[in-house]
């Protein structure tokens, strides 16, 4: 190994959601410092929720993140309903699953095409690709728009969905709406085929670090996204109520963020973790794609999180179509449409309680936990987002990676690190409670 010095300081890492810095300091070939610092301005959502009704929590917490607002919506609703012991109907659950698959599809497409592909094609962003890969850019924007249009029909819009609330939906899709959604999704299939072909040509960096992978697991044949227990590749299985025993948040003196660990020094959540735990439950088309691109569980190359996202895109598109077809076949029961502010009318009985929502959102397992009083007012709130859980794993990866690539130039090392962080698809504005942030003075 070379006895060289490397000092890397990437301020305001680009093509990620939110604000983070990478700091690496190598002296005489020894790694002194290797951190992903989080410099997001604190937004204090958990504090702002106190004193608010659980019926308002979805509206507020969806604003934690614009990219995963549907995911926050679903975790928030689940926590609220769990706290008051409300059981949603089968129809509501089906519609929520459609929403979650659309969210997964939308977020993964954004990540694969606009955030990761530029690195693999050697450019700084999708903008130069408009000239060099016009068809690809158009396809990406078209696919994203399609998912958005389906979301518009289902919940009013994708960013901060409107009609999905505690108790059910304020607007249910008409038969015409269901047909329109199906048309859009079936119409997207040729673009999905082309996406798979493109992905097969992309070369991901080689790197591996064995770690623990955490995601929802269940005994049903369905790939668990909206419900289940929390499981890990090291054999852990726990009820979602015990989520704190999964995350085990702790503070380390050198670090910028609150860390999580379970059976080992770090664990990973997200598409790759879900694939590693539940790949046998994917739809056949998705399994086929995994085989074609050579993705096998247990995969320990974090750069391939993007490949796992592609496999999940195929799965989510198929499942969204499947659930909408089921709804269409059975017919939607419109008597289940609910009026917002239904609490004021007392249609949903409220009691004091403590509820947990655990949902697989694009970047991994998202936890919302609310304590509510007998009027349904939140007295305590806690949200642990996937990126919080992944930061520790990212740092462990960086610490293993840097010594392995010290023979490369500073620019190459910087790019490899940026690509590694991006592979996790971090969502830093989501990060509700990072501790001991060292603010970089600019």
């Amino acid at each position: 190994m070379s006895k060289r010095n490397v000092k890397i300081n990437v301020e305001y890492l680009t093509r990620v959601e939110g604000h983070g810095n990478i700091v690496v300091d190598v002296r005489n070939g020894e790694l002194n410092q290797c951190e992903l610092q989080i410099v997001e301005a604190p937004r204090l959502f958990e504090g702002m929720l106190c004193g608010r009704s659980i019926f308002e929590a979805q509206h507020i917490t969806s604003r934690i993140c614009g990219i995963c607002s549907c995911g926050h919506t679903l975790a928030s609703i689940q926590a609220a309903e769990d706290a008051i012991g409300f059981k949603p109907s089968d129809q509501t659950i089906k519609l929520r699953k459609v929403l979650l698959h659309l969210e997964n599809l939308d977020s993964h497409l954004l990540h694969i095409y606009l955030l990761v592909a530029p690195d693999l094609l050697g450019v700084k962003s999708f903008v130069p690709l408009i000239d060099s890969h016009n068809k690809v850019v158009r396809r990406a924007l078209r696919m994203k728009k399609t998912v958005n249009d389906v979301c518009d029909i289902l919940v009013g819009r994708h960013v901060h969905p409107i009609s999905s609330i505690v108790g059910g939906f304020t607007k249910l899709p008409t038969p015409k709406n269901l047909d329109a959604m199906l048309n859009l999704l079936y119409g997207m299939q040729p673009d999905m085929e082309a996406t798979i072909e493109l992905a097969a040509t992309l070369k991901f960096p080689q790197f591996s670090r064995d770690t623990e992978y955490v995601a929802l697991v269940s005994d049903t044949p369905e790939y668990p996204m909206l419900s289940g227990e929390i499981g890990s590749t090291d054999g852990i299985r726990m009820n979602k109520k015990d989520y704190r025993k999964i995350t085990n948040e702790f503070i380390v003196p050198h670090s910028s963020a609150k860390f999580c660990k379970l059976s080992r020094s770090s664990y990973m959540v997200g598409a790759l973790a879900r694939f590693n735990l539940n790949s046998e439950k994917l739809v056949p088309q998705a399994k086929e794609v995994a085989r074609a691109i050579g993705l096998k569980p247990k995969c320990i190359n974090p750069y391939l999180n993007t490949a796992a996202q592609l496999v999940e895109c195929v799965h989510s598109l198929a499942e969204a179509i499947h659930f909408i077809e089921e709804l269409k076949g059975k017919g939607v029961d419109y008597s289940q449409e609910i009026v917002v502010g239904i609490d004021e009318k007392g249609n949903i009985p409220i009691c004091a309680g403590n509820g947990v929502g655990a949902v697989e959102v694009p970047r991994g397992t998202l936890f919302h936990n609310y304590e509510v009083d007998k009027k349904g007012i939140i007295t305590k709130a806690n949200c642990i987002i996937p990126t919080n859980q992944n930061v520790n794993s990212i740092e462990h990866d960086m610490k293993k990676l840097v010594p392995e690539i010290l023979d490369q130039t500073d620019d190459e090392i910087r790019l490899a690190l940026e690509m590694l962080v991006r592979a996790y698809d971090p969502c830093i504005s989501c990060s509700t409670h990072f501790l001991n942030v060292k603010f970089v003075n600019r």
Binding site: A41, E46, L110, S125, F126, K144, V159, F439
Partner: protein, 252 residues
């Protein structure tokens, strides 16, 4: 004609309004024919350290560091567009102004809360001059396109100063008050085509209040439907808390 240089920046926010740009679909490529995007951290690695024509800024000001940063940004651009509720009115971030800042930080961060410097949430125009406002949480794409056209042509854009009810009536919705629901529509600026009410939810006031709300009309509505002042105040304390801050500043 030289393409105007446009840059996107964000402060405390969810970045959902910037995401709305990517949600335009292929229309985005038409927009990109007209402008040169020189910086957009969420989707581009390119960085630009010189002056530019238009800054589109999302997010609200919640730290001293942000105060300095927005002042410097203002010096570098000819036109500044406040983009989304957090930037135009403080938005959902303003909810923290309902609390004592020490106490709310303690609630979230425990004993180490002092590490997290924060000030009262403020919209951009509390610190710098804003040339165009694109309201909403999130922004409404048709309005984004309208404002961009105006800004590129150097024409003014006036945000509608009538209530959401006007658009809601045109959309033929049943009034939320008729359903027994407290709605912010009567005092909230239009321009979103009553997006939320069309989808069965109520208006939360994310576009800010009309400049001259019909107070007597609102009183009549509240009396007719037996709605307490507290119920309205509770909803105003979601997106519109910074309004009071601005009133205080005017008095000073």
């Amino acid at each position: 004609m030289k393409k105007p240089k446009v840059a996107f920046f964000d402060f405390a926010c969810c970045e959902g309004c910037q995401l709305q740009i990517a949600n335009m679909g292929e229309l985005l490529l038409d927009v990109l024919h007209l402008i040169e995007v020189v910086e957009f951290r969420e989707v581009m690695s390119e960085k630009w350290d010189k002056d530019f024509d238009i800054a589109i800024v999302e997010g609200s000001i919640t730290t001293e560091h942000a105060v300095e940063r927005i002042k410097k940004l203002r010096e570098r651009c000819k036109v500044l567009i406040a983009y989304g509720a957090c930037a135009t009115i403080g938005g959902i971030n303003g909810m923290k102004n309902n609390f004592d800042l020490d106490k709310i930080r303690q609630t979230v961060y425990g004993k180490d809360y002092k590490y997290f410097a924060t000030i009262k949430t403020q919209p951009l125009d509390a610190i710098v001059k804003v040339d165009y406002y694109i309201n909403g949480c999130p922004v409404y794409i048709p309005e984004v396109v309208k404002v961009l056209k105006a800004a590129l042509a150097g024409l003014p854009y006036a945000v509608p100063d009538y209530s959401v009810c006007v658009e809601c009536k045109l959309a033929e919705n049943v009034c939320m008050y008729e359903k027994g629901v407290t709605c912010m529509g009567p005092i909230t600026r239009a321009g979103c085509n009553s997006w939320c009410i069309n989808n069965g939810n109520l208006c939360y006031g994310c576009r800010g209040m009309v400049s001259n709300p019909n107070q007597n009309g609102a009183k009549d509505v509240m009396e007719k439907y037996h709605i307490s002042v507290d119920a309205i105040k509770n909803k105003m304390d979601m997106y519109n808390t910074c309004r009071e801050l601005k009133d205080e500043q005017k008095k000073r």
